[in-house]
């Protein structure tokens, strides 16, 4: 007797694989064509431009700062959502998801209402010499508004997966609730929290609509790409987009690797 015959492949799997291939191509093809349509000298030339460099730097630091600043409130909030029951919790959970579902230009308009110089918050900020509209503070607010649900949801799922017996054991050993949160809950949910931070940061960095309305200037890269496209056309917008995507990918991969290393340590 020869070797036993292979089990026949289900035709359905082949159909699914083919469909998957179409989706993958749909994502990869435009990106690949964009990269391939840029020559190296063109890219080098664009990378030297101060406007481009400034905008990329601005986008990176504002998105990171927005993530870190809002995380201080978002992570404890996520813990509360995971651990406590309170009236209207369903409503609160739904509210958190609103920024994901509304058009981002609309989000920008809504934010402008509370941040503009005529608003209460805008006037208060104005008194200490801070302008929320057309400033990096406004950019951060716009970025955070559209990206914070990702952090809250991811961190909440992380906290939910921490057995509450461990927290009770820590309390039983004499730890204060704050100590339990910092030494037991957060470290055990770290994986989800970090993943949420990365998601929030990436989403904030790629935000265009809301930022455009709150702060056209100083110009973040997504706005710069839009402006170059409008004023000079595809050929001038493309190298900026390529450089920005490359920088984002480098950071994204680096952070992912860092997070992975931390887990296995």
């Amino acid at each position: 007797m020869g070797p036993s015959p292979k089990i026949k492949t289900e035709p359905l799997s082949l159909v699914f694989a083919a469909l998957g291939g179409v989706v993958l191509l749909f994502i990869v093809a435009p990106l690949a064509s964009m990269f391939l349509n840029c020559s190296l000298p063109e890219l080098a030339e664009t990378a030297k431009e101060t406007d481009v460099r400034n905008s990329i730097w601005l986008t990176l630091w504002t998105s990171m700062a927005a993530t870190v600043i809002f995380a201080i409130a978002a992570i404890p909030f996520a813990y509360l959502l995971a651990r406590k029951d309170f009236p209207l919790k369903g409503l609160v959970t739904a509210i958190i998801d609103i920024p994901i579902v509304i058009p981002h230009s609309a989000a920008g308009i809504a934010l402008l209402g509370v941040l503009s110089r005529s608003s209460l918050l805008g006037r208060a900020a104005g008194k200490i010499g801070l302008s929320l509209v057309g400033s990096s503070a406004g950019i951060m607010a716009a970025m955070a508004f559209v990206s914070i649900p990702y952090l809250i949801n991811s961190a909440r799922d992380g906290f939910l997966a921490v057995p509450d017996r461990l927290e009770k054991a820590a309390l039983n050993l004499g730890a204060s609730p704050l100590r339990v949160f910092l030494t037991v809950s957060v470290p055990l949910a770290a994986r989800s929290i970090v993943s949420g931070l990365i998601l929030m940061w990436a989403r904030g960095m790629s935000e265009f609509g809301a930022v455009l309305i709150i702060a056209y200037h100083p110009m973040i890269t997504p706005v710069l790409i839009y402006e170059r496209f409008g004023a000079f056309g595809l050929k001038y917008a493309r190298p900026v987009a390529v450089i920005f995507i490359a920088v984002c990918l480098v950071f994204f991969v680096f952070l992912r690797l860092l997070a992975k290393e931390k887990q296995s340590a």
């Binding site: 057995p163 039983n172 050993l173 055990l188």
Partner: protein, 353 residues
């Protein structure tokens, strides 16, 4: 010291009703009950993890019913490991010490001491996930003892361990108790109650059926339930002797003036032997059988026991035999009659203690 008064709590299918007991400094209180009678719920309530529906808990005279978990000074060792998986064994044991804001040098010294006492010195750098059941249980105990609780609550600390790890754990618990630590230990295993407890409470249907010393509970069970549940009427504290002949497993167990044969491979030392009353037979004369334990004595009591009849014979100490009513008739047993009791060495269960 710890005083539990009329605690009631319903939690899904589990319900405890009107539970009251007291534990004094240095006492080892064993709560004995079948699984599902709410023993763990009771411990969780005392530790403050669950709020009781009714009743009060006092520690050193202070009402702690509404006290925060972290302020209670009650140490709970959970049934399943609650060691922190992201910390080493060292950091786990150091955790309550850090909560007390001790200096690093003091923490280091104390962890080393505890690790030594709990046979965990070699484990300090390990992660909890890599520990065996017994190791994990010892580290959990060390960690809770490090928090210096006024009262230590143990939820089935031995039952989940493999048979080989049990004697060491029992010895450890005895040592902790000998240092004056008050302990409440819940279990479904009467051998733990006999070998560890100074006092026992038997739980039946969510309430305490009887509380008393080990002797009171086992020798004078108040109800049919307690008698059945504790299962063992005959137990004796004494010394297990060394092997006379290495190839033999039958060992002598000496207790106040009597010497029993027991089949065991446990090391010699002090401990308890237990014999189920079902395993004891009664005869009017000594007969040649395989039973290694034969004693002559006087019947002091004959009590109907639900199923069968319990005959108590004084052989220098009281031994209970559960036999049928027919046998009582055929053998013409009555109080004051001289009879022979016998049981096999293999019916003798030995527990170190």
């Amino acid at each position: 010291m710890l005083s539990v008064k009329n605690i009631s709590k319903s939690l899904g299918d589990l319900a405890i009703k009107d539970v009251s007991f007291e534990v004094q400094q240095g006492q080892y209180f064993v709560l004995l009950g079948a699984s599902g009678v709410g023993k763990s719920v009771l411990l969780d309530t005392i530790a403050g993890l669950i709020r009781p529906d009714a009743g009060r808990i006092f520690l050193d005279g202070k009402d702690i019913t509404g006290e925060k978990i972290q302020m209670r000074k009650i140490g709970l060792v959970f049934q399943n490991s609650t060691l922190f998986p992201h910390m080493t064994v060292y950091d786990n044991i150091a955790y309550p010490l850090r909560c007390k804001k001790l200096k690093d040098s003091q923490i280091h010294k104390r962890v080393a001491e505890l690790a030594e006492n709990f046979a965990a010195t070699g484990l300090l750098k390990r992660r909890p996930q890599t520990l065996s059941g017994g190791e994990s249980q010892r580290v959990s105990l060390a960690r809770t003892v490090a928090s210096e609780p006024r009262c230590l609550l143990l939820d089935e600390p031995i039952s989940s361990l493999d048979v080989k790890a049990r004697p060491q754990m029992r010895a450890l618990l005895r040592k902790i108790n000998a240092n004056g630590q008050a302990i409440v230990h819940v279990t479904h295993d009467y051998t733990e109650a006999v070998s560890l407890g100074t006092h026992i409470g038997v739980m039946e249907g969510g309430t305490i059926a009887q509380i008393g010393s080990v002797e009171e509970i086992f020798h004078h069970p108040k109800s049919e339930f307690v008698a059945r549940f504790v299962g063992i009427r005959n137990f004796f504290k004494g010394q297990l002797e060394k092997l006379d002949e290495p190839q033999e497993n039958t060992r002598r167990f000496k207790t106040s003036g009597l010497s029993f044969s027991a089949l065991t491979d446990s090391p010699s030392g002090s401990g308890y032997i237990m014999v189920r009353s079902e395993d004891v037979t009664i005869g009017n004369a000594a007969s040649q059988t395989s039973a290694r334990n034969n004693f002559e004595g006087t019947i002091v009591d004959i009590v109907p026991a639900g199923v069968g009849v319990e005959v108590i014979v004084d052989i220098g100490t009281e031994v209970a035999a559960l036999i049928t009513a027919e046998s009582v008739k055929t053998l013409e047993l009555h109080c004051g009659k001289r009879v022979w009791v016998s049981f096999k060495a293999s019916a003798v269960k030995y527990v170190e203690g």
